[in-house]
Amino acid sequence: MKLKQLATIALTTLAVSAPVAADLVFPSLSYRTGPYAAGGTPYADGWADYFTMLNARDGGIGGVMTSVPECETGYNTAKGVECYESLKGDGALVFNPLSTGITYQLIPKATADDIPLLTQGYGRTSGANGAIFSHVFNFPANYWAGASRIVNRIKHEAGGDIAGKNIALVYHNSGYGKEPIPTLKALAEKHGFDLTLIPVDHPGQEQKSQWLQIRRERPDNIILYGWGVMNQVALQEAANIRYPMDQMFGIWWSGTENDKLDGMASHGYKAATFHNVGSEYPVYKDIQKHVVDAGLAAGDGSNVGSVLYNRGMYAAMTAATAAATAQDMHGEKNITAGMMRDGLENINMSDAVMAAAGLPKFGPEFTGSCANHGGTGQVGIQQWDGNKQAWKLIGGFESPDNKVIGELIKADSDAYAAENNITPRDC
């Protein structure tokens, strides 16, 4: 007993004596090494550069400077936990690990530590249910919205009827790749198409047998949930068997500048996206002026304007907007992680807010609420143009089949609540 008291005293002294950070801390759990570095690097650059730009242009958020301590996870969950533990002591306001595996790991820990997780377009889809996942925010869109939007697009292109068609899901055999399976199964039942599941093991460099199966079965459409080197290999294999590119659809993590082939080989490949493409936005002038030209860029500056850079910057913009919301709500400039959570829950990402941030019409409008941490789930479709070597938005932001997704989210989050003895919040 005495020992426990002593230990408690020792711990509290340590906790109290930790330095009180004066900045708003937006840590970056990045991965600039390993098989997923090609995706992790531009994202981390976008996240860091946006906050650097805010510091230089506006003097931080609401007059308080921001800081972005970085920690390398290598897309590895154990290292992610190590990073989380080391950064949470620095007064981290929000975590954005860019890894579904690490997100699953952090959901219970961050909830207990009262630190929100911002997982835009990845992570645990049922985190959209704010009543049960109080600290998880995955707006504006999630994996299930992406899957449903892709199926809707396939249906649209097929003239409204996909009964009897064969759709193959080629996925990264991990928590990330497996996420869309329940939705696709439910949609297959609803629309009457056949679903073939083709897993690819980490890291995905070897896919010969999978594409042999595809060559044999000739599915009408392929949906690709890949990440890192797996995407390029999949596209190369698809080109090798002369699979028509315009019948292939990637999720947004398979729709970046890395995920293309030279020349016209991958011309016509489509991917879902939850934000706009290109670098024709006013914010890039500010980033160029205050960050890249000033020599403060997180990377070498070559990634500015790429899809993943945009996505990292969009996440940073969302976090900064939420922080400003939290400052207004609580009348306190030096917000805590708990206040940041309130800010995320009450975020209002309207066209006006995006325009003010220099990103007009960059993504769909969404608002957070106690029950809804997932936004509207509006997803667009982009297509790779081999001539211009660039992505182009071809399908506007449309809502997915929210009825099917809503039911699945409820079932999955209820199961989580039952397993972990969570009483849903009254929303």
């Binding site: 020992l3 080391s86 002591g89 219970p108 207990a112 397993e419």
Partner: protein, 358 residues
């Protein structure tokens, strides 16, 4: 001066055959235990517990288990990751199916389930040896990971195949789940690590351990003097898997809190544990702990020095970590091919003679 035996007379057989017959050794052992149980918990922060001490203890248990099989019995195994996965998934199924079961029972049962699975995969060891056995156990690694990924029953049909540990308490203290205090989680792992190390030490000193070592040194000779190879090999697989299963169970329930089989228990885990015992010392309990410490603590230490202390970019530091750890492994193996435990043994012999070299 150190490790002196003079004047330390043993008057009973029991005293003569104790684990640490030299008084200095014994005192050192008690001192380490006292530090681990009484001093460390007072200074344990979240970071120290979750990033350093708990992973160290968990990997030490896994290394102990593999050392029994590879170091003591001479059966090369590459299935550690798969067996840890069995332990983790057994824990998950037991925790979710029987919410009232206490954690010690859950973890011991997970160990027993893994022991059974391990013994099944040990059967080929009766026919094949050496590198061929390594290939057979490699198959078990891939098969188990595939199975746990393929059958949704193992992860209660969750959408992504992730398993996460619900909150459980013991004596009113929470030990698993996010609300567990670092001290409770650390002490829980420590009790298992110490108990299992004690068990391994005493097993290897007894009849069973001697039969393992006889098989390791020359299996035909062992058979001639009356060691039953079936019993010796299968018991080694079972005991080793029991340890590894407990390590996997703690890895999932106390350390990570959530896991996904392909990511957390891949082939890299099998290699990492094998490297731990090779660097630490084959056939040594102490070596298992040192090897685990080297492989777990060194990267964390380097990261903190390079990024925290010297302010290097994280990607550069991550690459240098590999270079430095890899270089150190090569240096250690050149200087002392029998591992860090042998280094400690040599040091001990030198200290016994010190300050008189002859």
């Amino acid at each position: 001066m150190f490790y002196r035996e003079s004047g330390d007379f043993k008057k009973t057989y029991q005293k003569d055959s104790q684990t640490f017959p030299i008084k200095f050794d014994r005192m050192r052992y008690y001192f380490v235990l006292a530090v681990a149980f009484l001093v460390i918990p007072m200074f344990l922060t979240d970071y120290m517990a979750n990033a350093v001490m708990i992973p160290f203890l968990v990997w030490a248990i896994a290394a102990l288990g593999l050392n029994i099989l590879v170091g003591y019995t001479g059966q090369l195994s590459l299935g550690t990751g798969g067996f840890m996965a069995v332990g983790a998934y057994a824990t998950y199924k037991l925790m979710t199916a029987f919410p009232g079961m206490d954690m010690v029972t859950v973890i011991l049962l997970s160990g027993l389930i893994t022991a059974f699975v391990g013994a099944m995969f040990g059967l080929p060891s009766l026919r094949i040896k050496g590198f061929y056995l390594a290939v057979a156990t490699l198959a078990s690694q891939f098969f188990l990971v595939w199975l746990l990924n393929k059958v949704p029953w193992f992860y209660n049909n969750s959408a992504s195949g992730q398993i996460s540990a619900p909150e459980r308490e013991m004596f009113g203290v929470i030990i698993t789940g996010p609300h567990a205090t670092p001290v409770a989680a650390y002490l829980f792992c420590l009790v298992f690590a110490v108990a299992l190390a004690w068990l391994a030490r005493n097993l290897t000193r007894g009849r069973l351990g001697r039969s393992w070592m006889a098989i390791r040194d020359m299996d035909i000779a062992a058979e001639i003097i009356g060691v039953n190879p079936l019993m010796a090999k299968l018991s080694a697989f079972a005991v080793s898997s029991f340890f590894i299963g407990i390590a996997g169970s703690l890895f999932f329930s106390v350390y990570l809190g959530a896991a996904e089989v392909t990511e957390a228990f891949g082939i890299t885990v099998s290699f990492a544990v094998l490297f731990m015992i090779i660097i630490g010392g084959l056939g040594s309990i102490f070596g298992s702990f040192v090897g685990a410490a080297f492989m777990v603590l060194m990267p964390v230490l380097l990261k903190n020095v390079l990024v925290g202390g010297m302010g290097w970019p994280t990607d550069l530091a991550a690459h240098f970590e590999y270079i430095i750890v890899g270089g150190l492994i090569i240096i250690f193996l050149i200087v002392e091919p029998h591992g860090l435990a042998q280094m400690a043994r040599v040091l001990k012999e030198k200290l016994r003679l010190w300050p008189f070299p002859h």
